[in-house]
Symmetry: C2
Subunit: 248 residues, 2 copies
């Protein structure tokens, strides 16, 4: 009998500020809430904030190029400057939209630089190393809770072909980000050849259903999903190499 899966908002977390000990704050909320077998999904925003990846726009001097482009598309030139600095490469830059490849290899709008849920005249950037951030959280939380708690760090990305942003996993710790059905048979005995599910992304998309954008819930527990332990997973493994990307 297949089990059900629950998505539980993590409540009681106060606003995170630069330098905050995020793991300790999460641990205090999760004591009595988290159970063995759960996965924790954390929006990158609170990780970035705790790690000081919040940039005061008043400290930014935009380049001439950023200024011109921002003026043309009625954007804040300081924010454009941060987006350009955070981009390892630019895929598109038109109609006021910048699609970047980040240093992590992620393809997303504005290199993940975001003004929403960031206080005052600041923008929030992606964590420097989301896997390391996830690992740090998972290790401390697992130690404090007495069982392994995998951690996924999520962000909302736009997609090719489809409208609407969905959450994906930009950092992963303690679990295999995929469910690999290859080598298994379907109920009719036919081998499942091309079936690698992006489970980490699906878990992050699921968690969004209880986090929302305005509810101020930056973390959620997923209970009942049979994740596979992996001591050293990498979010890089979720990035499709360009020469195998037939879906663009």
């Amino acid at each position: 009998m297949p089990a059900s899966v629950s998505l539980l908002p993590v409540t009681g977390l106060a606003e995170i500020r630069p330098g905050d000990a995020l793991a300790e704050k999460l641990l205090a909320c999760l004591q009595g809430q988290a159970e063995s077998g759960d996965v924790l999904v954390v929006t990158h925003k609170i990780v970035s904030k705790a790690e000081g990846r919040v940039i005061d726009l008043n400290s930014i001097k935009p380049s001439e190029w950023a200024r011109q482009w921002a003026e043309r598309w009625k954007k804040d030139p300081r924010q454009i400057e941060v987006v350009l600095r955070e981009s390892a490469g630019i895929l598109r830059m038109e109609h006021g939209i910048i699609i970047s490849r980040t240093r992590h290899g992620l393809v997303c709008a504005n290199a993940g630089v975001d003004r929403s849920n960031s206080p005052g005249e600041t923008v929030c950037c992606l964590p420097e190393d989301p896997d390391a951030s996830a690992r740090g959280l998972s290790q401390r939380l697992s130690q404090g809770l007495g069982f392994t708690l995998p951690v996924l760090i999520s962000d909302s990305f736009g997609r090719a072909w489809r409208i609407g942003i969905v959450n994906v996993a930009i950092g992963v710790a303690a679990m295999d980000p995929f469910t690999d059905y290859r080598g298994q048979d379907d109920p009719h005995g036919y081998p499942l050849e091309a079936s690698i599910m992006g489970s980490a992304d699906a878990l992050c998309s699921a968690a969004e259903l209880v986090m929302g954008k305005t509810a101020g819930v930056p973390a959620a527990l997923v209970r009942g999903f049979a994740w596979k332990p992996d001591e050293c997973p990498s979010s890089r493994s979720m990035i499709r190499p360009l020469d195998q990307d037939f879906f663009r």
Copy 2:
């Protein structure tokens, strides 16, 4: 206090065969299981099967072109022929992989034609009109249950940039497929400009966590998600127009 969301596998559904009254079979399972406020996610496979969209490969005479291509990449030429027939356009056709645009406007591998979870020498195609299928199911189930039950029809798609297939909604009935945060403010008072969540896709991705590929669970209830009623939603609205697709 934000609510939790539950993903509940729908159990007790026997193998679906062409001509089966799917709504009646689902209704029998959902009586006593479904609650007001739930969303039903159904994998397209059982919809396609009930609607007779299963093709016996022995009835297919491949074209010379399908034969040559299949031989080169060691594929079943009859299956390639079906894929070509189901494609409104071909985006890529290399290394044995066909990425098609279907008549529904969906971009996916093999036009959604799939051999897994299809009996014997048959392949399963996408429903002719997944929104109509979803609407038919939603209407009958809502009538039988005494409350509105939105229905999403899901399929697993590969994606640009990222590895691992995830579920998306190819058909929708009775609910808005998006959660539109535009015009709302984040907790800091900053307006959320570009935030339209692909909720229908997220719900289908979430449902996959309890459906799996080998467990034989072709439907799931999502409980606790605050969907917005929409009498006439369209899965076409989820397809990004090419001239606005900066993510490819």
